[in-house]
Every structure is written in structure tokens, then in C-alpha cells.
């Protein structure tokens, strides 16, 4: 009898897992259709590897590449952002003179989950999982704001909750909610894989792997402060 119950439970669990996986895949596939139908592909390409070889190639893009979106973003954040897309970059993509017009199209209803599943399914084997644990990191902070010029181009929350930093790169305010910590490290270590032509300097050969890990931990810890109860 006990064996029968266990066998039944195993079958149910297997069925549920298979059904969920199938539904997830179906939702991702539907998300791909929504992505195409809404014209998202006009600004974002979703098939890797990276295509950009020259500055012209990079400047011709209207929006960031998304072929590794599932390795880069956090799923919860992505779903919320697609519903209410607040600017990540202070400046318009690829521009040094035009402010971000904050006009990214919004998704609603079932499209949000479907497109989120589609994008989260776009992953890169170059992002190793489980390497970066977000934490307060004085060494990372030192590199970010003193030793290297990260803060020159990226906004972050400084002392007294003041938003500091430059405006040409994507904001890193609350980057720990948006970005997969492991992607931050992979991006620093393998910039040519993800963005072969970019305005940010290559730090490979300038920062050690340990330094990059410290910076990644530090940036991955950029999260909203919990309110005191």
C-alpha cells in the first residue's frame, strides 16, 4: 500500500512538473510571438552571439541587445519593468545630447508574463551561476568610486541617499534588484562576449578576478533600503 501511494505521488509530481515545464515553454513561445507582433525586435535583437563589430554597428542600434536577457536580468524585476518601464539610462540610447524620452512601450495583461518567460529563456553559457553573493563590500566600493572611474558614468545612491554619478551609462541605482549578480561578474570578465563595442572601458587585465568579484558583489548589493518598522 505504501509503495502504491509513493508511486502515485511520484507520478503526480512528474506530471505536474512536466505540465508546468510545457506550459512555461508554451508561454515563452507565446511571448516570442508577442515580442515580434509588438515590434520589440525593431530595437532589440534576441539571437546571439553579439553582432557589433564597429562603432557604426553599435550606434545603429536603437536599444540594447537582449539575446542574453535571461542571464542578465532578474525575473521579478523584468515583469514589473515591462508593465511600467521607467528609464534605466539617463540619456537616450546611444546619445550624449538627448535625454531619455521615457517612452518605452508598456505591456499589460498576459503579454507581460509571456514576454518575461520568453526573455528569461534567452540565456548565455558564459554566465556561471552561483559565483556572486551580493554583500556590503568595502573593497568593491573602493574600486567602484575611488580606484576606477565607474561612478563617472553610472549613477548610484551615495551618502544621505543622494543619487550621485555620471549620466552616460545605465544607472546602477537599485542594480541589485535588476541585474543577476553573476551576470555583472561575467560582463566584467568577458566584455567582448556581451558588448564587443561599448563606451565603457575594458577592465580585463586592469582589475584582477578578485577585484571584479568584489565590484560585482558591491554593485549587486545596490538595493532599496528596507524601511524600519
Amino acid at each position: 500500500m505504501r509503495h502504491l501511494i509513493l508511486a502515485t505521488l511520484s507520478t503526480v509530481a512528474l506530471f505536474a512538473a512536466t505540465t508546468m515545464a510545457t506550459m512555461g515553454a508554451a508561454n515563452a513561445s507565446a511571448g516570442g510571438d508577442v515580442f515580434a507582433a509588438k515590434g520589440c525586435a525593431d530595437c532589440h535583437y534576441t539571437q546571439g552571439p553579439a553582432r557589433e563589430k564597429t562603432i557604426d554597428d553599435q550606434l545603429a542600434k536603437k536599444g540594447p541587445e537582449l539575446w542574453y536577457a535571461g542571464s542578465k536580468f532578474q525575473k521579478d524585476w523584468l515583469g514589473k519593468w515591462l508593465t511600467d518601464p521607467k528609464p534605466i539610462r539617463p540619456m537616450k540610447f546611444g546619445s550624449l545630447t538627448v535625454e531619455n524620452p521615457a517612452d518605452h512601450p508598456k505591456l499589460s495583461g498576459g503579454d507581460v508574463a509571456a514576454v518575461t518567460d520568453f526573455l528569461m529563456g534567452l540565456t548565455s553559457a558564459d554566465v556561471a551561476a552561483g559565483k556572486v553573493k551580493p554583500k556590503k563590500n568595502p573593497k568593491g566600493r573602493q574600486i567602484f568610486s575611488k580606484k576606477m572611474p565607474c561612478s563617472g558614468c553610472h549613477q548610484y545612491v551615495g551618502r544621505k541617499k543622494k543619487i550621485m554619478g555620471g549620466r552616460s551609462g545605465p544607472s546602477l541605482v537599485e542594480a541589485g534588484v535588476r541585474l543577476n549578480p553573476d551576470w555583472i561578474l561575467a560582463y566584467l570578465q568577458k566584455p567582448k562576449v556581451f558588448k564587443p563595442v561599448k563606451m565603457m572601458p575594458v577592465f580585463v587585465g586592469l582589475l584582477s578576478d578578485k577585484d571584479m568579484l568584489n565590484v560585482s558583489r558591491y554593485v549587486a548589493n545596490f538595493k532599496p533600503k528596507k524601511k524600519k518598522k
Partner: protein, 122 residues
């Protein structure tokens, strides 16, 4: 025969000019892509990163008096190894792992066109 020779010379000269102008626009593009973030599109040190919180004033490349104090080698050094290599701010990144030698050479020439100066010689 003489006409043919002249036409050949003209074609060669025209192609050289085209290459030269392509290189010049390449250097300007490299400048605008990497350097203008802080130094500004026209080189006045007024790129979009330079808010009132920016800890230093990026060099104004149109200031001939200041730019004349630097040799081409001084500029190469700072471009490649960053501000701290010349006791300047780390806000000037080290571009040595990003730019090719040809791009750095082009940038130095472009900076000389912005300052309209030859810089410290030797």
C-alpha cells in the same frame, strides 16, 4: 600614353585622399564615442557626465595654452594608463585595454585639431 599615365596618377591620388579623410573621420568618431562622455562632443570638457557633483573638471581640449603644456607622449600615457599615471584623477579611465594603437594615434591627432596646437615638443 601620357594621358593614360596622368589618369592613373590622378586615380591613385584620389584614393589616397579618400583613405586619409576616412581615417580622420574615424578618429573623430572614436573621440565622440569614448571621450565625449566626459570631455564633450566639441572638447570643452562639458560631456553629459559632468554634473555639478562630478569630482573634477575634465580637460578642455580647446584650451591651447593648457594643451600646449602636454607632449603627444604625455597624452598617450594618460589615454592608455588613465589619470593616476600622471597624478590626475582616476575619473580619467585607462583605455589601454580598449583602444588599438592606431585609434590612440588617431585620437592624439584629433586632440591637436581641437586645440589647434602642436604641444610640447620632444
Amino acid at each position: 600614353m601620357r594621358h593614360l599615365f596622368l589618369i592613373a596618377v590622378a586615380i591613385i591620388l584620389a584614393s589616397q585622399l579618400t583613405i586619409a579623410s576616412a581615417k580622420a573621420s574615424g578618429a573623430e568618431q572614436v573621440y565622440k564615442f569614448y571621450c565625449a562622455q566626459c570631455h564633450g562632443l566639441t572638447g570643452k570638457g562639458d560631456g553629459p557626465n559632468v554634473t555639478k557633483d562630478f569630482p573634477v573638471s575634465p580637460r578642455n581640449f580647446t584650451n591651447a595654452a593648457e594643451m600646449n603644456k602636454l607632449s603627444d607622449a604625455d597624452m598617450r600615457n594618460v589615454i592608455m594608463d588613465g589619470g593616476p599615471s600622471a597624478s590626475k584623477s582616476p575619473m580619467m579611465p585607462p583605455w589601454g585595454k580598449t583602444l588599438t594603437d592606431a585609434e590612440v594615434n588617431g585620437l592624439i591627432k584629433h586632440l591637436r585639431t581641437l586645440c589647434q596646437c602642436k604641444g610640447k615638443q620632444g
